[in-house]
């Protein structure tokens, strides 16, 4: 089970700390999944951040009448409750909408694994407490195969050690994350806290700007 700590209610924009997460995973072996699929534009009309899970992958999860599409992995009871999503190559391309990362988080996911991420989506994930884990194409393939063979397959994502492990076989890979972002994720901090602390330096810099 995951050892994610509880939500910090003092600061509503912050997120749960992330240390080691062991969970089953939803497989989504489709390439170039864009953020318009993760959350279609017509659901971006909120002025508050809440309940974005409802329309997470809306048009892939539900048909035009609003009935769940049974064989779509996110609806499949075999994987229910997973905290990890394993996606195909170039996950999160397209629109910069952070709503996509919010919907991932609100759906109960704390980690997305893929062999390649689009830049903005990756950044957005890191800013909202979802860990993007980039693995080799071979390892991603292994994960998909393992999940297909056994939907109860567990994956262990260890942020302090930067490793991702297929629990059943012990096969493991390391992943990259810069030290600063890693610290933020481990502590549930965000960039705004950091920037607020260096305001004087920013004021000085602003004075040097030509326009």
């Amino acid at each position: 089970m995951s050892n994610i700590l509880k939500f910090n209610i003092d600061n509503i924009m912050a997120y749960d700390k992330f240390e080691v997460l062991t969970s089953t995973a939803y497989p989504l072996p489709i390439e170039n999944v864009d953020t318009d699929q993760i959350i279609p534009a017509r659901f971006l009309k909120a002025t508050e951040r809440k309940d974005f899970d409802i329309n997470f992958f809306r048009d892939w999860r539900f048909d035009s009448e609003g009935n769940p599409i049974a064989d779509f992995p996110l609806n499949d009871p075999k994987y229910a409750g997973s905290k990890i999503l394993v996606g195909g190559r170039n996950f999160g391309s397209g629109s910069s909408r952070e709503h996509a990362a919010w919907s991932v988080y609100d759906f109960g996911l704390r980690c997305v694994i893929s062999s390649a991420f689009a830049d903005i989506f990756k950044n957005n994930c890191l800013n909202v407490g979802v860990l993007p884990v980039q693995v080799s194409a071979e390892f991603a393939d292994k994960l998909f195969k393992a999940i297909e063979a056994d939907p109860k397959t567990e994956i262990k994502v260890d942020l302090p050690n930067q490793t991702v492990t297929l629990v059943s076989t012990g096969e493991s890979e390391t992943f990259d994350i810069n030290g600063y972002k890693k610290g933020n994720m481990l502590n549930g901090f965000d960039d705004i806290d950091y920037l607020q602390n260096i305001k004087e330096e920013i004021v000085e810099f602003t004075e040097t700007r030509p326009f």
Partner: protein, 465 residues
């Protein structure tokens, strides 16, 4: 040391380098709109912090706005709520706001340059991925998420790792009927939708040098569609001529000083890029997409590739063609089309309307086509009228709508119905992008116009004489 244009602009905006972390990156200009900013303002309120430099942020309403009867109250309560939130937040924090009906209102990436807010050598961000448009002026401009919008509002900075550098050179002579949109779609088809992930692109070569500012904006706009963080083009006489005298452009002595700096903004001889690509202008045809990402494009006269000819997963490819209801090996020319959309921050400027009109002039809209012609801003509308293009549009049986993002992302009423096929001058052909179940073919204003009068996908060169 020889440095690139990108390095010059980036390095001069680093407030602080964090070891094993991102740069604290200074933002000169920030655009906000109604969709991606409200939650950032909620964040400010919850943290009890304010807007540090309100004069560096500019608000415009565009994503959600109707393109018809803009003088009436916005009917959709959720859209109206977002527009009101934008207006209230702007008023509360002293941010300039161009709401619906304002003379300067329009799509954020069109009104920025029009008003001289976009300047060479500046850094520009907005909660919209096509912020890359402003790179046409030699600015570093890119899209950000809402957390970052909150960062810019509260500290005028974001935390960014420096991207790698790519240069794309296109040299030679462009063929007849080949527009900047085609150049961009061609490059993306070569790079694929993720080929430039992790990179910032500089476009170089005589093709971009000879391009108008409007064409350069179209090209830089589409940089994000190959995964790049953004794209830029070195400023030159054309750039300076475009910005001089606009509302927010430096004036007098400030202009002279700025010019001195701007003239240094080019990649030095011998400066190195992480990767470089060369394309020949003569290889580029009028383009069209056939799949569900902008990398799935080809010359309009070509046939849809077979699964085994494309890179990447066969399953993904088949899913894409299945959604489009197309078969491998089919021709695009002659396919019946239902909708034509001219507009968006990619092709909603005056030149795009001129190009469209050059084909529809003296012809009639095809019966089977529903056409939405949506200018990018009120200034574009004014120009259309000044040049008499509105007459051409009307005589050909088309209607000119009011400015906004419209069917580019279909958040307002301009939705392509499920199953219908649209030729669109916008930037994304993702599943459902233009409305649930809609099917999109991306193309230039010329291809869109030719299709609009013929009713089927048409090579514009057959109508241009």
């Amino acid at each position: 040391m020889a440095t690139t244009l990108f390095d010059k602009v980036w390095d001069s905006h680093v407030v602080r380098k964090i070891e094993d972390g991102p740069d604290v990156f200074y933002i000169d200009r920030h655009f906000i709109h109604e969709v991606t900013s409200p939650v950032a303002f909620v964040g400010l309120k919850q943290r009890g912090i304010g807007v540090m430099y309100p004069e560096r942020t500019f608000a415009t309403a565009d994503h959600n706005t109707p393109t018809w009867n803009q003088h009436l109250p916005v009917a959709d309560p959720l859209s109206a709520n977002q527009l009101e939130a934008l207006a209230n937040n702007a008023a509360k924090y002293g941010i300039s706001h161009w709401g619906l009906g304002h003379r300067n209102n329009g799509i954020v990436h069109i009104v920025g340059p029009e008003n001289g807010i976009t300047l060479p050598g500046s850094t520009i961000v907005c909660g919209d991925s096509h912020t890359s448009t402003h790179g046409a002026f030699g600015a570093i401009a890119f899209g950000i998420g809402t957390s970052e919008v909150e960062m810019v509002l509260s500290s005028q900075c974001i935390m960014q790792p420096k991207p790698k550098k790519m240069r794309i050179n296109v040299n030679g002579k462009l063929g007849f009927g080949v527009t900047p949109k085609d150049v961009a779609l061609y490059i993306i088809s070569k790079q694929t939708t993720s080929g430039a992930t992790g990179y910032f692109v500089e476009y170089a070569g005589n093709v971009f040098e000879e391009m108008t500012m409007e064409g350069r904006m179209t090209v830089c706009n589409l940089s994000i569609e190959m995964g790049a963080r953004g794209g830029m083009i070195a400023p030159d006489e054309k750039t300076f001529e475009y910005i001089q005298g606009r509302k927010h452009t430096p004036k007098g002595a400030d202009w002279d000083k700025a010019m001195e700096y701007w003239k240094t903004l080019k990649t030095d001889e011998g400066a190195e890029f992480d990767v470089e690509f060369n394309y020949d202008a003569a290889d580029i045809e009028p383009m069209i997409t056939y799949g569900t990402n902008p990398g799935m494009g080809m010359g309009v006269t070509k046939s849809i590739p077979k699964a085994e000819e494309v890179e990447g997963g066969v399953e993904t490819y088949k899913k894409s063609l299945g959604y489009m209801k197309f078969n491998e090996g089919e021709d695009m020319i002659g396919k019946p089309v239902d909708y034509v959309f001219l507009g968006s921050c990619t092709n909603g400027r005056i030149e795009d309307f001129r190009a469209f009109c050059s084909i529809i002039e003296g012809r009639k809209k095809a019966e089977n086509i529903t056409a939405w012609l949506v200018p990018g801003s009120h200034k574009v509308v004014d120009q259309i009228k000044e040049e008499g293009l509105d007459k051409i549009i009307e005589d050909a049986g088309f209607v000119l709508r009011e400015p906004g993002c419209s069917a580019c992302l279909a958040m307002n009423d301009d939705k392509i119905p499920a199953g219908k096929l649209a030729v669109s001058t916008s930037n994304r052909n993702f599943e459902g992008r233009q409305g649930p179940g809609s099917r999109t073919l991306l193309a230039s204003p010329l291809v869109a116009a030719a299709t609009a009068v013929e009713g089927v996908v048409t090579d514009p060169r057959t109508l241009l004489v």
